[in-house]
Symmetry: C2
Subunit: 158 residues, 2 copies
């Protein structure tokens, strides 16, 4: 296995794991930014051509693994791989955010549901032709757009 | 930083990094399967309710990092974070695949563009309400669906 190391840091107005939006779609008006370590700055070339990117990051405040969790949008326990809970065996999160602008090694983004100070692991472009699934089913998740937009976290995954 | 460890192994008919489909959409008829370590089997509960999942995995055959790479679908160098190349600082890949069936700790999937024997790091549900971006731009990538479907890899990222 390769060693995994942070390549930068994610900054957001979310300073606590309580009362956060639970997904980027619940944070569409929330601006944050990513600072990529100077040594990786060349890797950001051409990124401004994409409107959206995946951020991969470490759920650095998650200190344990639970195989069954109760998701924020549900009332019963589900297998952790059928949820986006941070309490997974490898504490890696992904969020799709919108690029507002790129300034050197700083990428300003919108729709951020990530805790301030989170270690960044990777940035990948969101490519509609690769990443949009037109026909799919979403299991236990029956929430409306409005519920997702309004829902805020509590400390259950801390 | 948390330690990252494999939670299972991905199996596919792709035994070499040459001549592979370059994305799941170029492999829509290709079946493979994931074996999740027995100790994590409870984490798979409820996953069969989702038609599609993200597989997160280690690009275990990538032995170096390049900040500028020429993507398979392009002729000029691009910043690695504006591509899906394996030669990124952290060699983590993501693919969206379709679930065919779940048999204990085995998840049979369709649309697999991943090398046989690849270490699995995580499974997350694809949730349309979270993950579908309706209006987006895809930078340098101008390929048609047909080109993506037909394109096969060479050994440039080996």
């Amino acid at each position: 296995m390769h060693e995994i190391k942070p390549i930068g840091t994610i900054h957001s107005p979310h300073y606590s794991i309580e009362d956060m939006p639970i997904q980027p779609k619940g944070a569409s008006d929330v601006e944050g930014y990513v600072i990529v370590d100077e040594k990786y700055i060349d890797g950001l070339q051409n990124i401004e051509g994409f409107s959206h990117i995946y951020l991969l990051y470490s759920f650095h405040e998650a200190t344990r693994t639970e195989l069954l969790v109760t998701p924020f949008m549900d009332k019963q326990k589900r297998g952790v791989f059928a949820t986006r809970s941070p309490l997974r065996p490898n504490h890696i999160g992904i969020s799709i955010v919108k690029i507002k602008r790129v300034e050197g090694n700083k990428v300003v983004v919108e729709g951020i549901d990530i805790l301030d100070g989170t270690p960044l692991l990777d940035i990948k472009p969101y490519i509609a032709k690769f990443d949009t699934v037109k026909e799919c089913t979403s299991g236990w998740l029956q929430a409306s757009d409005e519920e997702i937009f309004k829902k805020r976290s509590d400390n259950r995954f801390g």
